[in-house]
Symmetry: C2
Subunit: 393 residues, 2 copies
């Protein structure tokens, strides 16, 4: 018994993503949460429960470790707040758990909030910490995120004969999309030449192949689909949900292991497509927000999500098919590449973005005739993936 | 639309709680999870999703930060695993989220696993870390857990005229119960005299007023009630669930604040009693596993859970009414006091204990004629509380 079409997203909002030095964790939570409530036409008294996604509270001295740090500023004291944390998939998994709770009938209206402060420490400290804590304690030690994904890139190069120029085109596309998005961290267009000449982070990944370190928050208010119209005419439905957890790290330590793609993404997509009754994602998905933590990741995501055959993901970007006006628009928001990746907020931000396109509210970056959209996160060392599919009613 | 009576607990298990130096995090997860599966008559192939509760993965170098560290040893690779973390209420909140997911209809059989390794660092390091990370970043800085609860105790003394002897009786009771529990960390009976003469930790709390630092794991397999009989005749039903999040810390900094009891526990209990349709907990609850992190906490829990009026909780222990054969048995397991408190595991362990009593499997510590039982966690600086009510079908 699937919960397809049983949950409606009735309110969405996000803060500007970037160096939000002028906003505290609480400021961002307030802007996103009250924005989503206002969009839904509800107030704090209507919110019966909250799902909070913050990956690393230690940067802000504990903010977001549990709901006790936000209930006062959100006027939600004494309400139930669960914190869901699942590496970079935290935001979409918090959303998934909230959907189950509403579908169970126990709550009518709940809030999902993703909030993450990352710029209050230096990016080196933040990245090193993330890598140290993100990996498997045995398989993942000593790795950094760029290092891990760089190994996928060199293998992809070796196997399919592409080079850094193809990766660069992913960055160029996403920075172009980001230039159209007022919420993006970076809003400047870049060129392939600029990407190739930028400092190397971990060969073959250069500065522009990597997502920046960023602050941000995003929120959504959801209810049962049957009640949606009593709140607003502008809502979208949850069509599919998927989460898969594997052991992603090992591939990096076995040069003979043939694995290149992300099994967790494939499995999460399979679950979500099954629930949404999607047979051919290439034809049925109108836009996708995918986890482009590095340029190579977006190309592998194309394959793992079924937008291209294995080994042919690179062709989609070479042929320009994933631009916002292309055959299968990917990251019309600008992606993690230009928005940045405040870890706990990203998944919720993707849901906000997809809903905005389905509602025709995406401004200059609007994907035309978007009826079904997908959000995808990949977390840990490729070991955790979530897929959320939203559609028009 | 409540989920009362819609969820069945069909399998339960726990490891020995204690200094499990001979078991890794994974060893404990395996023993608890496979124990619960065996009890339910299912195998890993039947488990469709997992909810994991681990509070602090940093002690074990990242084990339990997400499901990727356990899916291989549990033969659950590629399955959905969500980590729920909510201070000391993590275990019961993971259970709550799992209940919603099954009640939504999306899954038939899921596993809830609480697992925490705490002894691999010294207790000082563990406690200091817990206090540093557990508190509110503004209100909670500089406090330790014993210090925070000691302030409640001195205020209780001042207001109601009791002394350390009354607190000691909670410890004596729980150590007696623990002496009957093969899973307890400490299995020796103690005396009031011994409690009073023990080294002080934070006046008026001495060594025996505090829960020890402990390793342990516990697990439960749940399904929809309508399917329970197809697995086993020995199952219990979920009657009530409550979670409340407040701002507990502030009381410690305002000597004029009249607050002494835990608003979060009162509110979580209210939610759970409403769902379970319990009008008079004193008469309707046959046993309770409550969060006795310190002896004073158990006395406040009596009041906040409605077993006694405010200011009269101390009478229950003075009159011996909360012994396993008393009017309202509390912590027949031995509680956090003698079992210890592996943070993420405790809530699940309580659910296992309550179910054991309802199923008549609790051995020497069995509460007679137990038909309805309650599990309660209190987390953070009194700011997060969960209540789970289980009953016979």
């Amino acid at each position: 018994m699937s919960i397809k079409d049983k949950i409606a997203v009735i309110g969405i909002a996000q803060t500007k993503f970037g160096e939000n030095f002028d906003m505290s964790y609480e400021d961002m939570a307030v802007e996103a949460a009250f924005g989503a409530m206002e969009d839904a036409g509800v107030g704090p008294d209507d919110i019966q429960a909250v799902w909070l996604s913050t990956f690393d509270p230690s940067i802000t001295g504990g903010m977001g470790r549990a709901g006790s740090t936000i209930v006062d500023v959100l006027s939600l004291r004494d309400r139930p707040v669960s914190r869901v944390t699942n590496y970079c998939s935290s935001g979409t998994d918090a959303f998934r758990n909230a959907c189950f709770a509403v579908a169970s009938g126990e709550y009518d209206v709940v809030l999902v909030l993703g909030c993450e402060k990352m710029r209050d420490v230096g990016s080196r400290e933040s990245l090193v910490k993330g890598a140290a804590e993100g990996g498997h304690p045995v398989w993942g030690k000593g790795m950094t995120a760029p290092g891990m994904f760089a190994m996928r890139a060199t293998r992809y190069f070796h196997k399919y004969g592409i080079g850094r120029e193809t990766l660069a085109k992913v960055a160029v596309k996403n920075h172009y999309h980001g230039s159209l998005n007022p919420y993006a961290h970076f809003r400047k267009e870049i060129t392939v030449d600029k990407v190739l000449k930028a400092p190397l982070i971990a060969y073959p990944l250069g500065l522009f192949d990597c997502t920046p370190t960023t602050d941000g928050a995003a929120a959504a208010v959801i209810t049962r689909a049957e009640n949606a119209k009593s709140f607003t005419d502008e809502y979208v439905l949850v069509k599919g949900l998927g989460l898969s957890v594997g052991v992603g790290d090992r591939v990096f330590f076995d040069p003979n292991d043939p694995v290149l793609n992300f099994q967790s993404t494939k499995e999460a997509a399979k679950q979500a497509y099954e629930m949404a009754e999607i047979k051919d994602p290439r034809k049925e998905i109108d836009l996708a927000e995918v986890h482009d933590c590095f340029t190579i990741t977006e190309i592998l995501n194309y394959e793992d999500l079924g937008f291209a055959e294995e080994g042919e993901g690179w062709k989609l970007i070479e042929e320009g098919k994933t631009y916002k006006d292309g055959e299968i628009p990917v990251n019309p928001s600008g992606g993690l590449k230009s928005l940045g990746h405040p870890i706990g907020a990203t998944g919720v931000r993707m849901i906000v973005e997809v809903a905005n396109h389905l509602l025709g509210r995406a401004g200059d970056r609007q994907v035309k005739d978007a009826k079904i959209g997908l959000a995808h996160n990949l977390g840990g060392p490729g070991s955790v993936a979530t897929v959320v599919i939203l559609g028009q009613p």
